[in-house]
Amino acid sequence: MGEMIKVTMPKWGLSMVKGTVNDWVVDEGDEVEKGQELVEIETDKIANVLESPGEGVLYRIVAQPGEVLPVSALLGVITQGEVDEAELESYIAEAQAAAAAAAADEAPDPLTINRRLDWEGLTIRYLDSEEGERPLICLHGFGGDKNNWQFNLAALAPNRRVLAPDFPSHGDSTVSAEHSSPLAYAKMVSAMIDQLELGQVDLVGHSMGGLVALLVARESPAKVGALTLLAPAGIGTEINAGYVDGFATANSRNELKALAVQLFADKEMVSRQMVADLLKYKRLDGVEGALVQLAGTLHSGGKQSEDLSSVAQSVPTKIFWGKADEILAVSNCAQLSGVDVEQLECGHMAHMEAADVVNKHLT
């Protein structure tokens, strides 16, 4: 067995922590000289060509164009003389493990990683703090996404594991009208619990996410510990159907702004950026069709389609509800007995408008 030389991600400048692999200038199997140009590497400051650390044959390209890798990650292997495939494989595995261990020392905040899992052929994107006991899954509302929990996840993560998915047709998950109903979303959550081997979880659901949480508790009671519901659908029958249908079809900044202000007691919370982000989401191919269909599963004839109050009564449940909620009125829980309901001085977005109260309960 001859010599093996590692080609690794260079560190160009003090601030470089990662680089993007662009095109390889040489092919697998090519002979290379020391100092010969091998592969184009791009950082946020500079694009340059990495030179060969030695001479031999570029026997294996490990990093493919487009990959973003940390400094010192293995990009390829140059060999001299005879090559034993098995030895090469273990050499690559060792080098990658060493680079991963080095990178782990400077691991990014796990909540900044846009993770993915596959469910029924769709890509589901989610956030996960990874560490901690008592996993809590946060379920967003109609037209929302995992970033709606921006004031909650980081606050809760030191005390317990938190996860937040984008439902199908929401956020960064695959758009699929076929998979857009509260029941389908409940199945997705149940599959997520299984795939990530979370065991029993607590659920916090906002608005439609509350309805999804109730459905998970009904369909898979063994997987659910406690429920926290924020202005949930599925309790009572009143709903602002005009908002739901309007949001599904709105296609301009002005239309969306007029709708978004209904979410908050303090209308100033609706920023330009929030409306711009909503518009970007609404314009993704297929989103409007999926939301129109989803809206149809949430209400009919101006009333909510399903009342799951009995589920809330059978599982440990805490409900927060804003007194100024214009989407799902707080009067929806007037008839609900045996469940702890706390009314707050806010609108529909308790997890944003009254984050401290909600976080304290969830800690």
Partner: protein, 333 residues
Amino acid sequence: MARELTFKDAINEALAQEMARDETVIAMGEDNVGGMGAEGEIDAWGGVLGVTKGLHAKVGDRIMDTPITESAFIGAAAGAAACGMRPVAELMFIDFMGVCFDQIFNQAAKFKYMFGGKAETPLVVRTMIGAGLRAASQHSQCLYPIFTHIPGLKVVIPSTPYDAKGLMIQSIRDNDPVIFCEHKSLYGLKGEVPEGSYAIPFNEANVVREGGDVTVVAIGMMVHKALEAATALAKEGIQCEVIDPRTTSPLDLDTIIESVENTGRLVVVDESNPRCSMAADISAQVTEQAFSSLKGPVRMVTAPHCPPPFSDVLEDLYIPSPEKIAEAVRTLK
């Protein structure tokens, strides 16, 4: 957290996604594949600055290299569009458009009108605009006002990677001929771009920055210069509202006038030469339709009325700068 792409890659992704979605979408141009037919050279180049690089591997011969015959392949693309295809033809530099004016002005733009509305021409002509690359006056002009002048054409000038992808997708899906202008100095600009397909409707200006003192309308690369000027002016207590029309035909005049009704002051920034420019056009339309809202004259910040110079020093002076924009804004306060 969201994924970032360069302006160039955003256009490439729009083409790849639309070509995957709809097999009537085809692409052609000089070196679009890059050495097609030459051994070992397949998919090598991808246009002058590599915008279509890698597409041949994804869509095969639905992307084609053409001879250096703009009049022939732009005409062919217009004809293909009238016969049910959705061609995206790249005409390297807008400066070269002169050799195929007839195909664009008299054929593609007129089909719908000449044939009683029965013919549709879903043609996209991609082309590079703008100065700053030391490429002299036949490769550096901003000639979009000429195309804006022609009824039947739509003219698109994106300023961000997000807009570039969404407007390219809309251009391909649109049933009229579109001149899609890519400022070459923007190709390396990075920004958040969703992975999925999305279309940004034409005739929708983007309010890039809100402010109550002066409305600054800026196009293409000039949006970034205007934003720089706005940041500097904010420190002096002047709040600019920066508006990017994104399409000059159709032009979303409503958004501009709505802003002027609030600020009473307008500066239009355009990298084109001043005579018959977008700056002149927007200035005239606002003056005619919202005269009573204006508290002062409309200011135009444009290139001077001369070809883009080859001298580095002169070219830098030729392009409207944030300083010149700020200066124009200050004259109104």
